[in-house]
Amino acid sequence: MAVALLPGEAPAAPVARPRVALIGTAFAAAASALGILGVLGIYLAQRGAVLAGGGTWLPEGTVIPLTQPTMALFTLLMSSALVQWAVDAIGRNDRVHTYLAIGLTFLLGFATVNLMYFFYNKMALPAETSQAVLLYTVSGAHLVMLLAAMTYLAVISFRALGGQFTSRQHDGISAAALYWHTMVALYALIWISIFVTK
């Protein structure tokens, strides 16, 4: 009943708190998404202004192939399903399938990086134009986010291998999956806004 007015020296024990990684990652994912969405918004605003003025957005002779970006989209969608498989597997304490799912997700992430590198080499867009600056900034920022997601997943997978996560406490894997899903959703938006509608 009494209010405990505490002596200065007494240390308190930290309490195991749930969802810290998940909430923190949600904020980080929101920050990453807004950073990219901001530039994407500028791309769309600039393109809209040019088109409204009766001009054409992409300079003459520009080639932006759709095959590689579409393949990247489906690769990332598959990776999204795989990372959710990891969450499901650890939720059932199925560690073998957890490692398998994380490994495959990582592999598809690497494949996407490779695909986008190939895409940049195939694309013919003069670098010294505002269109190129915007396109490279948006897609490059997304690539950075993909690399961040892969790094996050790698760290989490090492922790999983160390036996850190269980069916009752697997926030780390759920958090990494949340960041991954956000990254994939953003790519879908970029794919529609830039590569499909051009």
Binding site: M1, A2, V3, A4, L5, L6, P7, G8, E9, A10, P11, A12, A13, P14, V15, R17, P18, R19, V20, I23, G24, F27, A28, A30, A31, S32, L34, G35, I36, L37, G38, V39, G41, I42, A45, Q46, A127, E128, T129, S130, A132, V133, L134, Y136, T137, G140, A141
Partner: protein
């Protein structure tokens, strides 16, 4: 009602080693600390120093309106941009984060911050970014710099500063969401904690967009035409200091004022849920990264922008009414935190009401003040903003400063173990109010000069007054620092005798780990329940 429940001995013993690493002592204890109070103090000290610098620069650039030639020609625009960026990114946002890092874990009964090492990393990243920012300006950088490497350094430094602030915001917001004591639902969270949840969310969502802007400018500089986006770099950044976005610096003040006024009135904050909704609404209405006039020319005349800016008035008035209600129903002890909080109320009402005309197109307050003939480089600063918007930014900063000052004075026992000197604290509050208004209001009047010729004719007087206001703010900030440093020591948990929330149930300053036993609450004002000290 039990505020604290004793933790089982075995649990407390087994885990205390995690919370209480061996004190290293000396500088290692400061530089290597992950303790939330140490990191918070570092943020507070550094940001106050930057705040003084920012307002010295503000006085200098405002005097250029007189064509005073105090600065070399090519320094005027740099001093302006450095001052404006510093007020938001080196002073008010990090100051609020520093206060929150000390106070929020105590208010919610937590032993530490979430991501404590991330919080420490955020401070050092921010500080290194601030140092690099100053170095870039000193080596011909900044948004109008002529040395390409120094300009790149400017953008790198700014990105570092923003990264640090975003990381710190994530740490504070996650703490408030996940580390609350048993029984403390989100609706029972103290109002300062609530305001920091709102503020951190707004900062994460807004500042990350600014990072995107910086990356775009940098890519253009390095790989593009170097003029597709860099010919007007400042307008791409300036949206941060224009209505309504600039009011993000005032969000923490709303919580700080709520707590100081209600505590010193000895009452529970009436209509608490309404106040929380008002703080949240204020936060939502300040988020406007879409309003980038550099890319969407007529954005500031669009209905969404106009409506959002005007709607800011509604939650501000609800909050002011709530604070006045507390004063009227309670017996207010006019100690320095309460008085400074009430000054903050005045500043908030003035700021939101006088910022509203900015969106009225007919008044031409968004236009450059072309009647000023001798502005020289300062005219460049009006691309992307206007003199009226500088005044609005100054008023928003005044609200933020008064809220921060009230918080520093109120929670001084928790921050430093000393209760702030009351007389000096009151003087500091008064100086900040008068100085802030004197700095901002004359700029509004100059901004009206496009429509009202007599005001245009008197612009010299207004620039002098505005510079004087900035100088008073500098004195006010120094007075706050002296009031904190020169205070008398105390180890009483509730040093002011008016505490309502959990931070006042632990020692001043709290020991590492904060609470010997795990607190639990069943109301928003657990100490009032316990002591029955209500007026």
């Amino acid at each position: 009602m039990a505020i604290t429940d004793t933790r089982p001995q075995s649990e407390a013993t087994s885990s205390s080693s995690d919370a209480s690493p061996v004190d290293q002592g000396g500088l290692a204890e400061v530089f290597g600390s992950g303790d939330h109070k140490t990191i918070g103090r570092l943020y507070i000290g550094a940001s106050l120093i930057f705040g003084v610098g920012a307002f010295v620069l503000a006085a200098l650039y405002v005097l250029e309106g007189l064509d005073a030639d105090l600065l070399p020609d090519d320094w005027v625009f740099r001093v302006f941009t450095l001052s404006q960026l510093s007020v938001v990114l080196l002073f008010l946002v990090p100051l609020a984060l520093g206060i929150a890092m000390v106070v929020v874990p105590l208010q919610i009964g937590a032993s530490t911050l979430a991501f404590a090492r991330g919080a420490a990393a955020s401070f050092w990243t921010w500080l290194a970014g601030a140092g690099l920012l100053l170095a870039s300006y000193a080596t011909d950088g900044g948004p109008d710099g002529t040395d390409p490497q120094a300009v790149s350094l400017f953008y790198l430094a700014l990105a570092g500063i923003l990264g640090g602030l975003i990381l710190a915001s994530i740490s504070v917001a996650t703490t408030a969401f996940t580390q609350r004591a048993a029984g403390m639902t989100l609706w029972r969270a103290p109002l300062f904690t609530w305001s920091m949840i709102v503020a951190c969310s707004a900062w994460i969502l807004s500042l990350s967009v600014l990072v995107g802007n910086l990356v775009l400018i940098w890519v253009d500089l390095k790989y593009g035409t170097a003029d597709a986006f860099t010919s007007a770099q400042w307008p791409q950044i300036a949206w941060l200091i224009v209505l309504p976005q600039v009011f993000i610096v005032a969000i923490p003040a709303l919580g700080a004022i709520s707590e100081t006024v209600a505590s010193f009135a000895g009452v529970r904050q009436a209509h608490r849920a309404l106040m929380m909704h008002a703080i949240a609404a204020f936060g939502v209405f300040t988020i406007a990264p879409y309003a980038q006039a550099a890319f969407v020319e007529p954005i500031r005349t669009q209905p969404v922008y106009v409506l959002q800016s005007l709607l800011l008035i509604v939650p501000a008035m609800v909050l002011a009414a709530g604070w006045i209600h507390s004063v009227m129903v309670g017996k207010v002890k006019l100690s320095s935190p309460a008085l400074t909080g009430l000054f903050g109320t005045v500043a908030l009402v003035v700021a939101v009401l006088l910022s509203a005309p900015f969106v009225l197109d007919s008044l031409q307050l968004q236009d450059a003040s072309e009647f000023l003939e001798n502005l020289g480089q300062l005219a460049d600063a009006m691309v992307g903003s206007s003199i009226y918007s500088w005044g609005v930014a100054a008023l928003a900063a005044t609200v933020g400063m008064l809220g921060a000052a009230a918080a520093l004075l109120f929670w001084s026992p928790k921050i430093s173990g000393r209760r702030a000197a009351d007389g000096l604290g009151k003087l500091a509050g008064l100086l900040l109010l008068v100085g802030g208004l004197l700095h901002g209001l004359p700029l509004l009047l100059v901004g009206l000069g496009n429509e009202l010729e007599p005001l245009a004719d008197a612009s010299d007087v207004f620039f002098v007054a505005s510079a004087g206001g900035a100088a008073l703010v500098v004195v006010g900030l120094l007075a706050v620092a002296v009031a904190l440093l020169g205070a008398r020591g105390t180890d009483e948990p509730d040093a002011w005798g008016v505490g309502q929330t959990l931070e006042w149930a632990t020692a001043s300053p709290p020991a590492r780990g904060n609470f010997a036993t795990q607190p639990s609450v069943d109301s928003a004002e657990p100490l009032l329940d316990e002591t029955g000290k209500e007026s």
